[in-house]
């Protein structure tokens, strides 16, 4: 515990990060670290869910939970393709009639970026009695600090992915946007007096 107290450079969420750690029985488990920076949300969640279920071990058994502990860092840097940042909506119903609530990905990332990955992984796990225990094994952190530095951690290397080639229309749009950005930069450097509003990309 002393080592953990020393490693709390990040505040407050220590309770949530260490919550329920005592309930997890076996400590023959490995601690795998996933870096979510620049990863696509669903593909990352798919890999996490296989590791959490223990499906990469030869001693897998469906009636007991044998997955490794997964730590996800840099959760706020996870990417999505297409227009999902504004168009992906999370719905939930509170139970009262007419109270279907919704929230877009953008707002959710502003509010709590760890929930995005947690929901993605949780919805990929099989809906059985082990689901809550598996949820307890998943620890997600928005930035790259975590209080588990004193454990033997193993970074998880994502399998290589063949990214699909861009469709011609999307590619032309991207080239147009790039050219516009270049022109604006050049125009801004030539005329220093004028204030030009440069378009900046929203950082995900």
């Amino acid at each position: 515990m002393a080592a953990q107290a020393a490693a709390t450079t990040f505040n407050g969420n220590l309770k949530k990060a260490l919550a329920g750690l005592r309930r997890i029985d076996l400590e023959g488990l490995r601690w795998r670290v996933f870096d979510a920076k620049g990863q696509v949300l669903g593909r990352l969640a798919s890999q996490i869910s296989t590791v959490i279920q223990g499906k990469d071990k030869p001693i897998y058994a469906p009636n007991r939970d044998d997955g490794d502990m997964c730590i996800v860092i840099n959760a706020k840097d996870v990417c999505v393709t297409g227009r999902k940042l504004t168009d992906k909506v999370y719905y939930w119903h509170t139970g009262y009639i007419g109270h279907l609530k919704e929230r877009t990905l953008k707002d959710q990332m502003a509010k709590d970026p760890t929930e995005v990955i947690r929901k993605a992984v949780l919805r990929m796990l099989p809906r059985n009695k082990l689901r809550d225990d598996r949820d307890r094994k998943l620890r997600i952190f928005a930035d790259s600090e975590h209080p588990f530095g004193d454990r033997p951690l193993e970074p998880y290397v994502m399998p290589p992915r063949n990214v699909r080639e861009m469709r011609p229309r999307a590619r032309r749009a991207m080239i147009r946007a790039q050219k516009k950005a270049e022109e604006q930069e050049q125009g801004g450097s030539q005329r220093k007096g004028r204030k030009k509003e440069a378009k900046t990309e929203v950082a995900t």
Binding site: K55, D56, K57, P58, I59, Y60, A61, P62, P159, P160
Partner: protein, 112 residues
């Protein structure tokens, strides 16, 4: 008269002697639960074969995916059949548990 009933029912209650609660104490419930138990056993004898084959396949898949990029159980089985290697899934799963490298060696031999 009662002797015959009692003899029949004690035989049946011997079967259900390890059941929980009223299922091992009340005679009518005992006969019903015995029937259900035997039905489950009959049905599950066939299911057992299916379930274990699923488990072996999952285990083999888990180990084989660690071998390389985009190598999977399906490709392994395809190669096995092409080389006419008669190892079944049970043995492959046992090899996967006890000695992973052996399985990797086998699969490397088969790929060629």
């Amino acid at each position: 008269m009662t002797r015959i009933k009692r003899r029949r029912r004690t035989k049946i209650s011997l079967f259900a002697s390890s059941f929980r609660g009223a299922h091992s104490r009340l005679t009518r419930t005992i006969t019903q639960q015995r029937i259900r138990a035997l039905v489950s056993a009959h049905r599950d004898r066939d299911r057992k074969k299916r379930d274990f084959r699923r488990l072996w396949i999952t285990r083999i898949n888990a180990v084989i995916r660690g071998m390389g990029v985009s190598y999977s159980y399906s490709r392994l089985i395809n190669n096995l059949y092409k080389k006419q290697l008669l190892l079944n899934r049970k043995i492959l799963a046992q090899i996967a548990i006890s000695n992973k490298n052996c399985l990797y060696m086998i699969s490397n031999e088969i790929i060629k």
